[in-house]
Symmetry: C2
Subunit: 189 residues, 2 copies
């Protein structure tokens, strides 16, 4: 199915803080629920929460277990299906390896960000790339003040930013929703 | 400017709960920040938080004051501009009147929802309607389990739902982001 070769990675390290220092941010449960629901809505292959912090990994595993298998799955079943798509990994490389194992081709990485990047690809070009159904794509979103330059430089592609009207500070949750709709939503509407 | 005649109303009453009982939901501050940022990104005229509950109104006014004029405006100025777009009103009618006073024509109401509605309009048709620059549009989003039938029936238009792939439970924050992008984002990308 269209979309099933696309994966979202929500990166908590390495990202910038507001002073452009490289940090590990805390996991926000709103991010997880919102992005998981978007991933399910658009038929994605999976959603990786990327954090090296042991306390955050344990928190995430508890949240997922509660909604997917615990009492939460009965209380609110609309959370079960999306959270079934969530995986936790310690590094971007670990997520990448996990995806690549499932496909004939190695995963390609696509970085995103709110500012321009020389040589970035547009949404139309990324839609074309996704047509190559045997290749999985790991699309990376930075929390905090965004993915580091090194992560962008090390990706296969950097996606063009969503252009605001003089204001350029969408929450990562909203950016993921809009970008998935641009890539996989019905363009004829 | 394109978009300035569009207003979002986030309705906390009257909406359905999961048993289809009509209730007043609590305000979620994540909704306010995320939707205000989207409203600012796409150049909207304003964002109305609609709740009849006095405690919620006071909470909202405190949050807005903190980020727009208080210490928050210095700590994180990227919240100041979006929250300047937020107004609190007790009813949908009150929001409607406040908007209508600012424009030559009366506001037209557009309801949204996750399920189909007979006679709903598509995104392309709504984009055309927005071209009528002297008419303001109040687009209503329901919290909880959505706007009541009565609110939909009493609106001038009901917008077609975002079609998921067998899963139809986007958070209201994500639905607003996607719909604003479909209405006001660059369609040529």
């Amino acid at each position: 199915m269209n979309g099933s070769n696309l994966y979202v990675g929500l990166v908590h390290y390495p990202v910038y803080d507001k002073r452009r220092k490289v940090v590990a941010t805390a996991v926000t449960t709103f991010d997880i629920h919102d992005i998981a629901r978007c991933a399910k809505t658009f038929g994605l292959g999976g959603f990786f929460v990327i954090t090296p912090l042991e306390s955050q990994i344990q928190l995430m595993e508890k949240v997922i277990l509660h909604w997917v298998e615990g009492t939460g799955s009965v209380y609110n079943p609309t959370r079960k299906e999306p959270l079934s798509l969530v995986r936790v990994s310690r590094t971007i490389d670990e997520a990448d390896r996990e995806i690549s194992h499932l496909w004939p081709n190695k995963a390609r990485r696509v970085a995103t960000g709110a500012s321009g990047y020389s040589g970035s690809i547009g949404f139309g070009r990324f839609r074309e790339l996704l047509e190559e159904r045997e290749t999985p794509f790991l699309m990376l979103f930075g929390t905090g003040w965004g993915l580091t330059q090194e992560v962008k430089d090390g990706s296969d592609y950097v996606l063009a930013p969503i252009e605001g009207r003089g204001y350029n500070h969408l929450p990562v949750r909203s950016a993921v929703a809009i970008i998935l709709d641009r890539l996989l939503g019905d363009r004829t509407l």
